[in-house]
Amino acid sequence: MRPVPTILIALGGCGLVPEATRVPPPALAGQDVHVTLLHISDIHSRLFPYDFDPSFTDNNLGFTPDDPDTPCADDGDALCGLDDDRGPYGGIARIATLLRRERARADRVLVLDSGDMFQGAVVFNQYGGRAEMLAMTEAGVDASVVGNHEFDRGAHNLAEQYVAWGGFRLLAANYVFDDPSLPWSNDLADLVEPSALFEQDGFRIGVIGLGNLSSLVSITDESNTMDVVPLDAGEVVAREAERLRTQGADLVVVLSHLGLDGDIALARDVDAPDIILGGHHHLAIQPPLIVTHRGTGKRIPVVHSGAFAKFVGRVDLVVRDSSLLSIDYTLFPVLTVPEDDPRFVGDDPAVSEVLEAFQEGLDREINLDQVIGYAERPLRRYGTSGGDSMLGNFTADAMRETQGVETEIALTNTLGIRADIDAGDITIDAVFNAMPFDNTITTMFLSGREVQELLDYVAWRSSERGCKAQAQVSGIRFTMDCDAREALDVVVNGSPLDPDATYELATNDYIAWGGSGFEVLERNTTKVDTGISIRDVVISAIQAHRTLPQPGSAEEEGRIEAVY
């Protein structure tokens, strides 16, 4: 073939080349246009690679068992050789490499994040989001939706971190931040946009952000922890999509943190989006769902690409005359494999450099690698039969028995424990990963009737979640009947629950103030926040036991019998 001259095309208004060398965008009418969306979600501060024990579902998604011929690397991987493992997994430096590689393998491409980059590892506890903002920017994220955990240090912290370190578009069309009549009005109003429009060689992609609604403590309560006034997702998507189409959008993407059920409901009821990229529930759905709109029959893909920096999702779309014709999807797991393995992904140097300073700081401030105990087998946060769990029992016991608390009973929400503790040495880092929230122990007095109401609520909430116990207890045994949605046969420290008696409860400050819908705790007027960190209490308990599980400690005991 003969060589032909190269022409440079400027994509927007501030081109880097002289006007004379620009060429007009191609004639897109009637043509198939290939668009690639690289998708990540719910990074949850897992910027550094980490170990975990892959589940059956993880195995199916590419976290395959060890090759017995592959020797264990000298990387401190406690699971290598012991279990199904190609850890340590994930990490934003390897995700950045994947993103750059896949960008280079695409025609028109955006990198989109479905939110919750904050909270979940000690780097957030220590630096409040700076590391996440810098790393996501360096990794090349084009736009991110505001997730509910972005507010974990308050709305002002999010604004400060984003202004100082964020280099991507921050979106949420269904949040109002700037109603001056409301006490929580704040400076996010100037930073968070409802949508963004990107142009790629003549093709325009509109991206609408949708923040989470289900995690608001109450959308009408002034103690609303997210400092926002939420709007109806369907209405704002219809409005923003129309605005974007007016501006020439050929494709409308909803970047959502609603959760899967919210995304499906949106696609079913509102035909304005062409595709929804979602997060919040930490699901990796391969391949994506396709939801049929109830009225028009439009087929709208709903994409969820996992969490905790374990995956990068690649969505390939073919669009013709603003109609999405077909979708293809690839989910890349972030593994530790030899360099000659086709799945190998190395660290991105620029992101590694960003992380280095934070790693040094953590090493200096907190001895994350300090071994505080030993787990003879994995300490699970969920019970095998849906009831009480090893880690749940251990945590609730530690809360109840700690000096200065010493209540009759304890209850904590299962979702406050975010990860298992793997077999092997237990480090400070592992405890931070399992218990990332800076929650404290709150005590209060409840009547026996209120304890029954509390446990009935646990049964109701658990019944909505596959009859998996949504709370863990100490000093209490009961049958959680998910069919009747009530707690049966409640026993407190060996005696049947007395409705007229008074019991002192230890719980965490999040649910004590009504988080996750625990209204019976929220309305209690005897609450005392002890200020005692639950994570510190658990660390002390592990140090005291040294090896877990032991009889009566970190074992499933049938405290909660799940029946359905």
Binding site: V109, F198, V318, G466
Partner: protein
């Protein structure tokens, strides 16, 4: 080599952003144009049958430049199909910018399109990553049996794909409810012939009702036994070798619930044959005159970890899992006993067949256990039909 390589990484942002540049060769592929060289038999109104056999389609593809003018270059493209499975070819060579030939695929359903991509490394040019698709090839949605019947009890025909199942002109009904999903059976197929599967909802399953042609969400309403599905789709998985639809999207008709199918009585020849049992997967089955081995105790690891306990049917080992649905009845207390019957939904875990009793009435004698609940009885059991030839 004069290829300019892939596009740069920075997206141009219209709203207050900056632009980047693209390098373009005059003979760089900007578009591919895919057309069907022969009309396809299926249409949206009258789709071609869902087929496990190969289907052939004559296709033409043409490379175009930025002005949508034909290009006369040589290039290798890759092919695929979504949904479905592409048999051949997996790559084609454009000569003078065009290729025409036969593409063979199977397992297409709904609007199925053939993808062409310029993504192959070649001597003399770099891929442009341009892609295009054919017009829709309309295939019928698969029935439950067409998904389940593959000849391999640990796989199904759409495993790993997003599946839309045929319900509109079928009688797909809910036969049982669980804590995290429900079981469905297509009553238009012969009983016990691959016509049942599990729908995994993760949360407590709730109903979405269809009304006057539109779907109305009925949040919080429990699904009723016998309800008829008007739509069912989701991720098709083999979870521990049992077919399930995960992350489902489903709706129900407003018709009166259907009568539930009878439990199918297992004989030992069926119970000892994985392929025969696969036909019954997710159906309600009944094992009569079974023995809980005297060697079983609550220390059994499978019981400790998963709540599974063994039963013997004429020398065939089966299992049951009852802790969540039959409270107060402890199998270890009955080791060595003969049960006149035990019935449940049939599930496979890698060649291990497990009956999931729905409530205490599914285990002989368990209804009288403390804390037992009762539920409406189903129709009388019937023997397992012989497989179709």
């Amino acid at each position: 080599m004069h290829g300019t390589g892939p596009l740069p990484t920075c997206a141009a942002v219209l709203l207050g952003g900056c632009a980047s540049t693209i390098q373009v060769d005059a003979d760089r592929i900007a578009f591919l144009e895919v057309s069907l060289a022969q009309a396809f038999s299926g249409t949206e109104a009258a789709p071609a049958p869902f087929s496990t056999e190969a289907v052939h389609v004559e296709v033409r593809v043409q490379a175009l430049d930025r002005e949508a003018r034909p290009l006369a270059l040589d290039a290798v493209l890759s092919l695929d199909t979504r949904p479905g499975t592409l048999d051949s070819p997996t790559t084609v060579r454009l000569e003078e910018g065009a290729w025409q030939g036969r593409v063979t695929l199977r397992h297409g359903f709904g609007p199925t399109r053939i993808w062409f991509r310029d993504d192959q490394p070649q001597v003399g040019r770099d891929p442009t990553w341009v892609a295009a698709v054919s017009d829709a090839l309309w295939f019928a949605l698969p029935t439950l049996a067409q998904v389940q019947a593959t000849g391999d009890h640990e796989s199904n025909s759409l495993e790993g794909e997003f599946a839309e199942l045929r319900t509109a002109d079928r009688e797909v009904v809910v036969t049982a409810l669980g804590a995290n999903g429900f079981w469905v059976t297509d009553l238009m197929d012969p009983p016990g012939d691959f016509n049942a599967l599990f729908v995994y909802t993760f949360d407590r399953p709730e109903a979405v009702a269809a009304e006057e042609g539109e779907y109305a969400h009925a949040a919080g309403r429990d699904i009723l036994l016998g309800e008829r599905l008007s739509l069912l789709s989701g991720t098709d998985q083999e979870y521990l070798a049992t077919t399930q639809i995960s992350h489902p999207f489903y709706t129900f008709t407003r018709d009166a619930p259907a009568a539930l199918p009878a439990a199918l009585v297992l004989d030992s020849a069926t119970a000892c044959d994985d392929d025969a049992m696969e036909r019954l997967e997710s159906s309600l089955v009944r094992a009569e005159d079974v023995v809980i081995p005297s060697s079983f105790s609550s220390d059994d690891p499978d019981f400790q970890d998963y709540g599974q306990w063994p039963i013997d049917l004429d020398g065939c080992r089966l299992y049951a899992e009852s802790s969540g649905t039959v409270p107060g009845w402890h199998p270890a207390d009955h080791a060595g006993e003969r049960l006149s019957y035990l019935q449940g939904l049939l599930q496979e875990v890698w060649g291990k067949w497990i009956l999931l009793p729905r409530d205490p009435t599914d285990i002989a004698g368990a209804s009288s256990a403390p804390g037992a609940r009762t539920s409406p009885s189903g129709p009388p059991a019937r023997p397992v039909p012989r497989p179709r030839p």
